[in-house]
Symmetry: none
Subunit: 225 residues, 4 copies
DNA sequence: AATGAATGAGTTTTCATTCAT
DNA sequence: TATGAATGAAAACTCATTCAT
């Protein structure tokens, strides 16, 4: 690995690049698992998609399920990377919150495969997340980041309602995730084209409004009515 | 023949009751499909659960996929039945809305299988809902019921924000559905026991608060801040 | 049978006419067996075609294979009936022979199902003809009829070549039967539409010419060349 | 690897010879299909005959029907190979024709499986010949070869009757093929042992006589009588 | 005489995985 | 590292036949 590590494309070129093959396999696997779920995915299809020999998959990942775990873990890592890149601490609380909600929505919008993977993993009772402490660790920081924004909001006086950061994350995720997670059944049931750009953008606006409205109004407001 | 003619099921009885067998098969199938998804479910397991011969399933439903369609359709019908039983028109708008949100939450809480089925159906792009116009028809009334409550709320002055009934249904569904749909991954990720009764009840309260807060505050409220 | 034998259509009419149902079953079975062979035919399809309950077939015929035997036997009986109706003894030998050849050809032309049935029976080594002495008996007369025509032909001087009646029957059958038996493969192989009326009629003429030419020229004719 | 590199099959040897396994599968399949037809043949029996794992059949051929197609195609190719080996152009027309008829007869005599396969394929309306252009192409040359012999016969003055080469091929095939195709039913019907060597040889002689007689006598011969 | 329900034993096909090189 | 060949176990589905009425 260290010896042949960098480019150095000899006559036979791009062959014998184990890392690349691994990545290609993971990518192909993500597509397959997202499209068909763990049990619906076919090892044959994955390796065909990746353009590699079947045995190579076993060589790299051991078996189908381990490959699935790797795919899942990577999906969560990718998502958290995006969240960390937001740099929310650099802006006013309300803006930060709006940005975070918008990003959450856009993330699922552009990573539908993530939704499918996570849904399927819930079908399996999150059994494959067991081995991965990475995922858990990464979410501790997320909790903190949201907490910080909230605190700043309270300090600024822009947020009125005290909420648990994780609860808030739930709210934001629910609203963002569900739209894409259930887009097909909902489109059929209500006979609407929810995949239309216009519909999606409208929904994003509404989701931001819901969350902000919630944060910006103290509980008493309602009870007083 | 003349003696046992009527549904008087004697001691051994329960034989030759095709309708019952059909129902038992559907029930067993719902369990299996909810647990393992369409591709993960095993016909053998379904018929074993139902205690019938495998061929009977084919005799009644044609094939695995058709059985799945029937299960799915029935799941939606059952859900809609519950919604219709709420009789929301008989109470003040705010109470009606609170009741509806609470019911939506409790429905998924007590019908986790519904969540699994619908998630899996989304994985299949809602392809199996194609043939069922029943499901679509039943949701037209739902749209009307929500619309009525909203209108009454505006008239009563209790609701301030104008929203599309279907959008509102989305909001309520998102918040209710996601909690249970993603309960396993979320529990792992945040290392919390989201299945605990206390956590669930707390979340229900918050969801009701979110939705009501949204409806009861006009958009300007936020912008003015 | 004797009591309810004739029409007497009571209130419920055409129901309860066992003989008719038997015939309908046999007819449907003939279609199915001719189309798919013994092993390819489906009991379900047969009874559906006949519009009767499956169990009725078992009630009447015992099992699929016995039904097949009945169908086969009936097919041979029908064919022999036609041959007997020709009344070849009433006309000059050459005309009789021409008529017989023509009839043989037309029979398979119009009874393609016979061809399929017989082919399939040969696949089964004629095992199902075992029980049926009827078929064998009926062909003894056929042998005689052909023999008579031949003898008259020799006496009239129109036929020159002495042949065994059964051999001749083979020749005629071969030429007639093969055309329709192999019409699909041959059409494909030689890229011709052998099912066209024109092609069929032309072939009939040639077959008659072949057989007559053979009978009307003594063996020496060839050797002399 | 370097030591056993060449096809030097040592004592245990014969492993890992995919081509051979393919051939063995095809051979076993030909037996099975010829004995039981497409629908009557059992994949299990085929692979047992070939001594290979069942899945290997699917690995090589895709499914039962595709295997059937390959078997059928190969059967036709083998037959055509034999015909090409006759080298008819090297001998006088009459001898060539006699040789061709004799060969045609002997071919079916020694390749009864061919007969069964072709019969079964006709049952399926030659549907499986669709994809194989090979078969069709190979028969174009056959048509030419027969045409050449005929032309030479006319030139030599030995053949008097002008016939279409394909029609003649039909005549020869009919007479040869039918005898073996229908040998079981005919044996039963006429209570003769048509499988006896003597009977077969006698029939071959007669078939040659029929065809030659036909070719060597102009149509007028009959009409004049 | 007639029927809908039910079944056991197959039959094709699929699939993840391992072998041999 | 890489691959084509090979496999056992299971899966969906089929089919002739019988049961109960």
């Amino acid at each position: 690995m260290t010896i042949q590590s960098n480019p150095k494309p000899t006559s036979e070129a791009r062959k014998r690049d184990p890392e690349k093959r691994r990545r290609e396999l993971l990518l192909a696997a993500r597509h397959e698992f997202a499209e068909h779920g763990l049990s619906g995915a076919r090892v044959d299809d994955i390796v065909n998609r990746a353009g590699v020999n079947k045995q190579l998959m076993y060589y790299y990942f051991g078996d189908k399920e381990s490959l699935y775990e790797k795919v899942l873990e990577q999906a969560y890592i990718d998502k958290r990377k995006g969240e960390d890149d937001l740099e929310l601490s650099a802006m006013p609380a309300r803006d930060a919150m709006e940005k975070f909600i918008g990003y959450s929505f856009e993330f699922v919008r552009q990573n539908r495969e993530f939704v499918s993977l996570v849904n399927d993993e819930n079908l399996h009772l999150a059994r494959h997340l067991e081995g991965s402490s990475v995922v858990q660790k990464r979410h501790v920081t997320l909790e903190k980041v949201i907490g910080d924004v909230l605190e700043r909001g309270y300090a600024e006086g822009v947020f009125k309602r005290r909420v648990d950061p994780v609860d808030l994350y739930f709210t934001i995720s629910s609203l963002s995730y569900f739209y894409f997670s259930n887009i097909h059944t909902m489109s059929k049931i209500f006979n609407r084209d929810l995949s239309a750009k216009k519909a999606i953008n409208k929904r994003r606006g509404e989701i931001i409004a819901i969350v902000l409205s919630y944060l910006m109004h103290a509980p008493e407001d309602i009870d007083q009515v």
